[in-house]
């Protein structure tokens, strides 16, 4: 029975083991993953686009400024806005602005674009801007008609607009200025928030970190009025007279970010009604900083600043021990735009700016020869004084000791220990000997070759002298060379005589050529030779053969010129080939 029970338990364990699996990771459904990937509501671009158009206010006097405002449920980039509005000529359309925001509609966003024109009526009457069509994402959207009654007896409220106030209108390039956008409360003391506040003009850079918003009382037309105020710091980045204006959408109770409320107002309930508003344009005159007298340590800070006395954490320190230098900065304006000085390299000190970067430094003395902290050059431009102000952090006396340090530490700083030998030199009083360029002459092939010219000239002279001496020692070589040259000359004359048919010249040149070819063997002048000596240069067989006969015949003809009746051999043209053969034989022996 016990065995059966054990078998049953074993079987149960086996079956249980087969059914067991490793722990699988949680597998969320696809919809849950989709929710993770798309956490926010989608933008609605598929609903039908609607548009509204109206004048603000609908009733105005002649010459009074009103706004023609069109709002379209679409993105600005998708709208093909026309260049001109179909309006009667009595309505003068002026400055145009446009803006866009994303309005939250339950579970989706929808873009809202608004176009605004400043309009003035030149005559009284009832005027209307007829309906017209614009294309939004390629689809026609009808802009409804809007009418304006111009009546000089009307006394309605003025058009809603923003007020832009600038702290200064004459500033220097890079000088921060404070811009203030004000939306006054309605006559019923209702106040609305502003969204998508923008400053028109690419010439200004806004610093969002300096933004401040509040609902407070302001003085307007001689009485205190509650208003929504938005302040920010702008920095001009171009010079000249720059236009600046602001625009925003009213946003009901959609206040965002911290805000101070010091006025008693009514905040509207219900969904916001987004209305596009613009401000009056303001001209800001921006001048460039003077370039003359730019001091050391100027980092671009503009404002009225003053430095307090520098404070050292201690004035008795050891080599390598850090000491903290702190300087208080006072300013009547914004300190966010103050750029701290660039740290100088000073021998004997290591200077590290404390974090966050400001006017607090850690100084480490590297040697005990220093007696004061390094001065840190710094300056700023004071627009009130219209000049640069030197704010250099001055030196402070310190006592640096090296007591208790290992003996080898001074050796590591031997350069400074040697004292005055390591320091920057004074200015060189003169430029010094100028060079054509920094490129070394070794890279100029022509100049390198020029260096070898004298040596090559010496070698050439030496070679010429050797040859001269050799020829001096072997005159026969000179004679033979001259004989060959003279022989070539005589052969040319011989051929010329043959071509002319001049028998006498032929004989004379043939004789001369034979004498010239034989003369080097006798070290004698060619004209001193006779026929026998020429024949002597021929071999025995040639002397007695046709060659010898030709020589004799030529010499005989030459000697015949001394006869009373000189005669030339009648067959002399036939001798030309034989004479050439003789000359070739003689030339071979030269």
């Amino acid at each position: 029975m016990r065995f059966v029970r054990c078998q049953f338990l074993l079987l149960f364990a086996l079956v249980a083991a087969l059914s067991l699996q490793a722990q699988a990771p949680p597998h969320p459904p696809p919809q849950a993953l989709l929710n993770l990937q798309v956490p926010g509501p989608a933008a609605d671009v598929s609903s039908p686009v609607t548009a509204t158009a109206a004048f603000d206010p609908p009733v105005a006097r002649v010459g009074e400024s009103v706004f023609y405002r069109v709002a379209i449920d679409g993105a600005t980039v998708d709208i093909a806005w026309p260049g001109a509005i179909p309006a009667p000529p009595e309505l003068k359309f002026g400055r145009r602005s446009h803006g866009q925001l994303m309005q939250g509609l339950m579970n989706k966003f929808r873009p809202l674009a608004s176009f605004l024109y400043e309009v003035r009526a030149t005559a009284a009457g009832h005027f209307a801007v007829s309906k017209f069509v614009v294309e939004v994402r390629g689809q026609p959207v009808r802009i409804p008609a809007a009418s304006l009654d111009v009546d000089n007896s009307a006394a309605g409220p003025p058009a809603r607009h923003l007020t832009l106030e600038i702290s200064q209108t004459n500033v220097f390039l890079g000088q921060p200025l404070r811009a203030r956008v004000v939306l006054s409360a309605s006559p019923s003391n209702t106040i609305e928030a502003l969204r998508e506040i923008q400053f028109n003009g690419d010439q200004f850079m806004s610093d969002k970190t300096t933004m401040r918003q509040a609902i407070e009382m302001i003085w307007r037309h001689g009485r205190a009025t509650p208003a929504y105020v938005y302040e920010i710091t702008l920095t001009p980045i171009m010079t000249g007279t720059l236009p600046l204006s602001a625009q925003a959408f009213t946003a009901g109770r959609e206040f965002t970010g911290p805000m101070g409320i010091t006025a008693r107002v009514i905040i509207p309930d219900g969904p916001p009604h987004y209305v596009f508003l613009v401000s009056n344009p303001v001209q800001v005159n921006v001048r460039a900083l003077p370039t003359a007298g730019l001091p050391a340590g100027f980092t671009g800070s503009i404002g009225t600043f003053a430095l307090g006395p520098p404070q050292l954490s201690t004035n008795r320190i050891q080599v390598g021990e850090p000491v903290r230098l702190t300087v208080a900065v006072r300013s009547s304006g914004d300190l966010n735009r103050l750029v701290p000085p660039t740290l100088p390299r000073v021998p004997g000190w290591e200077i590290v700016a404390d974090q966050p970067s400001g006017f607090s430094y850690t100084l480490v003395p590297l040697t005990d020869t220093v007696r004061k902290t390094p001065a840190i050059p710094f300056s700023c431009f004071d627009p009130a004084k219209d000049s640069y102000v030197d704010l250099t952090i001055p030196s402070l006396p310190v006592t640096v000791t090296a007591k208790g340090l290992p003996g080898d530490v001074p050796a590591m700083d031997a350069g400074f220990a040697s004292g005055p030998s390591l320091k920057l030199s004074r200015l060189s009083p003169a430029p010094g000997g100028p060079a054509a360029s920094l490129e070394p002459p070794q890279l100029r092939a022509g100049l390198v070759c020029l260096q070898t010219v004298p040596a090559l000239a010496f070698l050439g002279w030496w070679q010429w002298d050797r040859r001269r001496r050799f020829l001096q020692a072997h005159p026969s070589l000179v004679r033979r060379r001259e004989a060959r040259r003279a022989l070539r000359r005589e052969r040319r004359r011989l051929r010329a005589a043959s071509r002319r048919g001049d028998a006498a010249a032929f004989v004379r040149h043939a004789t001369n050529a034979m004498k010239i070819a034989s003369a080097p063997h006798y070290a004698a002048h060619p004209q001193a030779l006779v026929c026998a000596e020429v024949l002597q240069q021929l071999g025995g067989a040639e002397r007695s053969g046709a060659t010898g006969a030709t020589v004799r015949k030529i010499f005989a003809a030459a000697d015949a010129r001394f006869a009373p009746a000189p005669q030339t051999p009648a067959d002399w043209p036939a001798l030309e080939a034989d004479v050439n053969a003789v000359l070739l034989r003689l030339e071979e022996r030269l």
Binding site: P431, G432, P440
Partner: protein
């Protein structure tokens, strides 16, 4: 004809003279700006003067101005160039010692023949080699050509000139080798594995760090430093020889 020759003779010296005057003006302006503490302007003036006619004094002052502006790399390069032109310039030598000690960078490691080439200006070695080659050749050959017996001093001088020639040959090789020597101009200049803007950074170099240029590709130079070999943007590296 005479007038043309006269004009030519008077016009020929004009361009160098005008250039020298302009250089001196820039130099004087630089000195004045430096004394007023306007170091950036002084550096610009000295740079202009050095670009027109490089001279050791101008380069020393350029280095001082750059140093006062906090640009250690350009300062060291300017002083090295001053020593390249005039190895006897004590101001450049002192300033280099000071700067290297202050920013803790090493002097370039030179081979023996490169050290030798630094004893005289680069151009002097070429002329020395040429003169001694001519002297040795002349002393060996001229007595024979002129039928004079070779005296002992002839041979001694020829041997001496030959030795100086061989000595200066090695110095000339050193000069050529040093033309590849340069210095990093900017602090934290990246040394990249490949000559591309997105190349992996293998080391970051300090301004004034010595390096040898191996070759060029695009706007990058392949250099060898003690931290390894890599590519650096050409604007961040300057050769002593100014090539």
């Amino acid at each position: 004809m005479k007038a043309a020759v006269l004009i030519l003779l008077t016009a020929l010296p004009c361009p160098p003279g005008a250039a020298r005057a302009a250089t001196n003006d820039c130099f004087a302006d630089g000195v004045a700006a430096y004394r007023l503490g306007q170091f950036a302007r002084a550096a610009r003036d000295f740079e202009k003067a050095a670009a027109t006619r490089p001279a050791a004094g101008t380069l020393v002052n350029l280095g001082l101005s750059e140093w006062q502006c906090g640009h250690a790399g350009p300062a060291i390069l300017a002083w090295e160039r001053a020593r390249w032109l005039d190895p006897f310039d004590a101001r450049a030598r002192e300033n280099l010692r000071f700067a290297r000690h202050a920013i803790q960078v090493e002097a370039p490691g030179l081979k023996w023949f490169e050290t030798l080439s630094g004893w005289l200006p680069a151009g002097a070695w070429l002329w020395l080699a040429g003169a001694n080659l001519s002297l040795a050749t002349g002393l060996m050959l001229l007595p024979g050509i002129l039928r004079r017996p070779k005296a002992g001093w002839h041979q001694a001088m020829a041997a001496g000139a030959l030795c100086v020639f061989l000595f200066s040959l090695t110095a000339n090789v050193g000069v050529l080798s040093r033309t590849r020597l340069g210095f990093v101009l900017e602090d934290n200049a990246p040394l990249r594995l490949t000559p591309t803007r997105d190349g992996e950074v293998t080391a970051t170099l300090t301004g004034g760090e010595p390096a040898r240029k191996l070759r060029t590709r695009g706007k990058y130079d392949l250099i060898r430093t003690e931290y390894g070999t890599g590519w650096i943007d050409r604007g961040q590296f300057g050769l002593v020889s100014g090539q």
